[in-house]
Amino acid sequence: MKTEIAGILEKHEGDRGGLISILEDVQARYSYLPAEALKFVADGTGRSLVDIYGVATFYKSFSLKPRGKHLCSVCVGTACHVRGAPVIAGEFERQLDASVGATTEDNEFTLETVNCLGACALGPIVVVDGHYFSNVNSSQVKRIIKKTHVGLDEAEIKADRRLYLHTVSCSRCNHSLMDPDHKIDGSPSVRVTASFERKHGWLRLSSLYGSFAVESEYPIRSDEIVDFFCPHCHTDLKGASACPLCNAPMVAMLVRAGGIVQICSRRGCKGHMLDLDGAGV
């Protein structure tokens, strides 16, 4: 833990309002603020532990207790309140058998209320792991919990009408990158050469827009930034933009039907952009 905290502190060196951002990063890493971590933060920043504890307990979004795998926030802003948010919060308490602010016994869910998420027209609003549910009524609560257990990001490859195939080619030599012999998600995959840590090998991506399935010759650690090359002309596929989510370089490919698709070169990041008129930034 000590080295990880040191890494976070280093990232925020010279940062304005450092402490709050540091604690936010610590919480993002451990899902709460472990006592030991606060001690490391105190040591590293030279501030007293009391100071750190004060900040950690003053702000609502920090938790000193471990939190569940899923964070479920029920908005209780005024607009949601007049539309029946207290009933929704009560129903979550009943269904999860945990009161507001608590975590379920199986450590799956933490239930919270928040003061206004600013989507007042759609109230009552519930946010689970960043997914918004609008106009929630008490009979939907059970379904939301069930959906979360299954996984909110899961897309059913066969049934989901929002997924579609796109054919891509190298932005330099215009050679197709499609590999019909190696299928991912039941469709031809996109093949590129990936290079990281002095290893070179193939990397295949799903060609379904909306699927994030990837296979590679060598296992790639999560968070690793990978260089992508065209397997035909060996050009670096790096595009002009940075990933909107994590700031890593984006990889650009031409879409057969028109436009440019850019994906983040960081393993595990879902940042992507599809520009139909190729306008870029």
Binding site: R16, G17, G18, L19, I20, S21, L23, E24, G54, V55, F58, Y59, K60, S61, F62, V76, G77, T78, A79, C80, H81, V82, R83, G84, V87, G90, E91, R94, N115, C116, L117, G118, A119, C120, A121, L122, G123, G130, Y132, F133, S134, N137, S138, S139, R162, Y164, H166, Y209, G210, A242, P244, V255, A257, G258, G259, L276, D277, A279, G280, V281
Partner: protein
């Protein structure tokens, strides 16, 4: 990314961007702010992309993903430009038809917005009653801008105001221009922005000066700042740059609440892009002027919207307010002179510079110039963000733009100003909306939340809600705020449970006045407003709870019972829904609620299709 090194460079790029664009080509505009995404805009975007690719239309039709346009009730919506055709509440299947219609230059009559007053379909967005009465100088800009693409912003006149003031090289003229516009702080207090800037400009620049954008929009029910940050982040950056140039500040902070992840994402992208183009940072456009902006995320504390607490939070400390003076303008962040303005104030700055102070001052009334964005929510038909000239009456906003009550119950009040504001009864809806009139009526303008309440909203419950909110959010520094709000909450809670006495109303009033007089910061000084204004206008409701043990609105759980009337068809839906098993009855027979085991959760009312569940 090419770094621009002179004002001429910038203008050349802007001209190139404008000339490159073929404005006759149709665009499909899909708003995808937080509300849009929550109601399914992302799916529409996907389908549109698929259709454009499949049909080879990518060079014939443009797709633009923007922030929120304001008509939240109609989300997910689609706007077609340049025709202005507006499709509300679009479903995935319908999106395919819309793409075809745009290709063929047609309008789909069956998908258009239907005016509930006339029953007729309205094609153009500008003809819809919700949009017609508004003056959308800020919100309309978001329609033309993809917030994560700086080219889009620059093509639409973005950063021209900055280039203009940098080109003139007269900072004091900028301050004069803002003073002449009459712009007052949009965060709620209404301090003249130009005067604030002048004070900052006159401060000694020993260790640097500071600008802050207060985007800690904590008032529940207010979300106009979120919408501007998500939909047009560059306008805030441009506003702050102009402010920095005018006042001699070189550092800025945008303090955003953590509950707005999309706003944070768009701001970070915008900051990175403008820095990359040399529009932010050192030696901006080669003029020698340097200004940098950092983003600081809040961590969920309402009191941090108060300026002195906000500054402490920026410094990485507990967000406790402190005594003023010294005012931030003398001693602010890190002890440096600091000017703090709200998001909407900053968004107005480039408009004033670009269009001139006179044009801005023409909108609104004397002493209250320009437009103000309100979030019209609650029991109203057209929920959404409305931008209106200052001085418009509440009646116009609620009836003409909002379309009146959402349900059958009559509207009885609007609540403005969030937890620091008050309730204004329907009899006073002729009141013009400006800083002074609202304060006189016992409420405040606040940041712009406008929550409509009808006869099914209990005013005692509203007061209880705000006291409970403020009780949790009081930082605890002042005794009267910490304990006073807690006591007020207890009294209101007693009354809502039928345990109150008439003497308690007097006590409540006295307590409210003492809290108002004896606390230090804005939170405490205004905390009594919800209680005082409901007592002023709706005292009878309090009395009813006490004397007759009745909640006229049917909200306070301890004083109501649920029953099923003869409308019941015996469909059994309510019995299946009730998690307490309090409803019994045979199929096709009228059901009965056991009031002993009923928790008054209201689930049966929501599911009943026959209006058979009664609250009394």
């Amino acid at each position: 990314m090419e770094r621009l090194t002179s004002i001429e460079d910038f203008k050349a790029m802007q001209d190139r961007l404008v000339s490159e664009r073929d404005y006759s080509k149709p665009s499909i505009v899909i708003p995808a702010g937080t509300c849009g995404q929550a109601s399914g805009a992302n799916d529409l975007i996907r389908v549109t992309k698929r259709e454009l690719l499949d049909r080879g239309l990518t060079d014939k039709i443009r797709l633009r993903i923007t922030g929120c346009h304001g008509f939240c009730e109609a989300e997910p919506s689609v706007l077609i430009q340049p025709t202005g055709t507006f499709y509300p509440n679009v479903k995935i299947e319908q999106m395919v038809r819309i793409v075809e219609a745009v290709r063929d230059n047609q309008v789909l009559d069956d998908l258009l917005f239907v005016d509930p007053a006339t029953g007729k379909a309205v094609e153009k967005q500008s003809d819809i009653p919700f949009f017609k009465t508004q003056v959308r100088t800020i919100l309309a800009r978001s329609e033309n801008i993809d917030p994560i693409r700086i080219f889009n912003f620059i093509r639409n006149g973005g950063y021209s105001a900055l280039a203009e003031v940098l080109g003139k090289g007269e900072p004091s003229q900028v301050v004069e221009e803002i003073k002449r516009s009459g712009l007052r702080g949009r965060g709620g207090a209404g301090f003249p922005t130009g005067a604030k800037w002048e004070l900052l400009a006159n401060q000694q620049n020993g260790h640097g000066k500071f600008l802050v954008c207060n985007a800690d929009e904590g008032d529940p029910g207010a979300y106009m700042d979120r919408s501007v940050l998500e939909g047009n982040p560059h306008s805030i950056i441009e506003g702050m740059l102009i402010g920095g140039y005018a006042t001699g500040a070189n550092e800025g902070v945008i303090y955003v609440r953590n509950e707005y992840p999309l706003a944070i994402k768009h701001l970070l992208i915008a900051l990175r892009q403008s820095r990359g183009f040399g529009l932010l940072g050192d030696d901006i456009l080669g003029t020698g002027f340097s200004f940098d902006i950092k983003l600081v995320r809040g961590a969920g504390a309402f009191v941090c919207g108060e300026e002195t607490a906000l500054m402490r939070s920026i410094e990485g400390k507990m967000g406790e307010p402190r005594q003023r003076p010294p005012f931030p303008i003398e001693k602010g962040v890190d002890g440096k002179p600091t000017a703090i303005n709200n998001v909407e104030t900053w968004a107005n700055i480039p408009l004033i510079i670009a269009d001139g102070a006179e044009k801005f001052a023409k909108i609104g009334t004397n002493g209250n110039t320009g437009t103000k964005i309100f979030s019209l929510v609650g029991k109203i038909k057209n929920t959404g963000l409305v931008e209106v000239p200052m001085g418009i009456t509440i009646e116009k906003v609620v009836t003409d733009i909002g379309g009146g009550a959402s349900g059958k119950a009559k509207i009885k009040a609007v609540q403005t100003g969030g937890p620091s504001g008050g309730c204004i009864p329907a009899e006073r809806f002729d009141l013009p909306i400006d800083y002074d009139s609202l304060a006189e009526a016992g409420s405040i303008m606040g940041s712009g939340g406008m929550i409509v309440m009808d006869e099914t909203t209990c005013m005692v419950d509203v007061a209880k809600y705000f006291m409970s909110f403020l009780k949790d959010e009081s930082c605890g520094k002042c005794f009267t705020c910490r304990k006073g709000i807690q006591r007020m909450h207890e009294i209101v809670e007693d009354i809502s449970e039928g345990q109150g006495t008439l003497e308690q109303i007097d006590l409540l009033e006295e307590l409210a006045l003492s809290v108002k007089d004896t606390t230090m910061c804005g939170l405490g000084q205004t905390a009594s407003n919800p209680v005082l204004s409901t007592l002023q206008y709706f005292r009878q409701e309090y009395v009813e709870h006490i004397e007759n043990q009745r909640c006229p609105a049917g909200v306070c759980k301890a004083l109501i019972t649920y029953s099923i009337n003869e409308n019941c068809t015996g469909c059994t839906l309510c019995a299946k829904t009730c998690s307490e098993g309090a409803i019994s009855g045979d199929k096709k027979q009228r059901h009965v609620i056991d009031s002993e085991s009923c928790t008054r959760c209201g689930a049966c009312v929501t599911v009943c299709k026959f209006d058979a569940v009664e609250v009394a």
